[in-house]
């Protein structure tokens, strides 16, 4: 997994899911899941309103 979700910070809004070009993210009620199609592009971490995501390159 190349994205670390700080689930203590995340407000489960789904904005990151909407911007992920690879479709690698999924919002399951109150948590974010990342699948192995992630390309580490960093867009999700950039737009998260609270900064709950860290992308490992």
């Amino acid at each position: 997994m190349s994205v670390i979700v700080n689930r203590y910070k995340c407000g489960y809004c789904g904005a990151c899911v909407g911007v992920c070009p690879a479709g690698a993210l999924e919002l399951v009620e109150t948590w974010i899941e990342v699948d192995n199609t992630c390309t580490s592009c960093g867009v999700c971490a950039k737009i998260c309103p609270v900064g709950a995501l860290v992308v490992i390159k």
Binding site: C13, A15, G18, V28, K46, P49, V50, G51
Partner: protein, 392 residues
Amino acid sequence: MRSSYDVIIVGAGPGGSITAKTCAQAGLEVLLIEKRQEIGDPVRCAEGVGKEGLIHHIEPDSRWIAAELKGSMIFAPDGTEIKMSEEASSQKAGFNLERKIFDRVLAQQAAMAGADVMVKTRATGLLRSNGSISGIKVMYMGEVTEIKASIVIGADGVESKVGRWGGIDTSLKPVDINTCTQFLVSNIDAGEYNKFYIGEKYAPGGYLWLFPKGEHTANLGLGILGSKCGTVRPISLLHKFMETYMPQGKIIEMVVGGVPVSGPIKQTVANGLILVGDAARQSDPLTGGGIINAMDAGKIAGEVCIKAKEKGDYSVKILKEYEDRWRATIGKELSKSLMIKNLLIKVSDEQLNQLAHSLSGIDTSKMALPKVLPILFKKNPKILWELRTLFI
């Protein structure tokens, strides 16, 4: 649970529920699914709507109206105030909703019209047969099943996956999303106007809002353009605003979210598939308002589903009518707003102040934005030149 329906709607937001109600009222067999266990909660919205847009769909009810508004006020970076949209005979002001209740009432109306509703039920993929979408895969309480449908409606909001599964790439670029944080703030004087604070000073590429929800409580929120997010975050900017301007305020709820501000996308239908509301990126690129657009689009989608059922044809040939109708109405407004958004993100705070000053001595209090804009253009052609096609 049944194994097949005429129409399955994914997402019980305003767009999904209106689509479901419209189809069910005509006797179609309808299933509305929502992945959350509670419809409408958590809220991802500032809850402001225009009266006129709302009453096309539902009779206003005090159970879900938190505040009725006198109008709106816009504040330039230097504090210059522009009053607009006060109620006049032609131009009604708006409401701030209680969406936790509003969204549930809409789903209830769909259910009463005959639609089946399933909550805590998440679409996880689409079924296909003969080149058409023919149903969905869902997970309910950890179990995966398949349900067939002649048409699937993707009304699954900003995080929409339905379009992508159906071959329509709806992913948003950072410049196509407004990323937001909002606090429900109490212990303040909320006033009777929706207030908008514009400029880099408050919210780069977006705005800060204060929408009253009663005498002493309001939605105080802030959205910035995704492309300007990263080094600054909406949440830190909002805390900063509160410390400076509203130190007495008490935060009693927190909301985060993203609003599509892309303007019309290229494709919103495929064989057996229609996208509605935020899933179709139909929220306004300038204001971020998307409730009424989602409901309007849901109504059109429902009507087109009814036609498709009559004809027994669920291909793009019939569903294209949805595309044509929303583009001719909602789409036109989105395109105008997109032009204004694209200009505003380039305008400096100093220029915004100039624009605000140019309205001094003009009573804009009864005018809505479409009336104010041409005045601004006339007085500031240099700053607003890019928008000339809107007026000439």
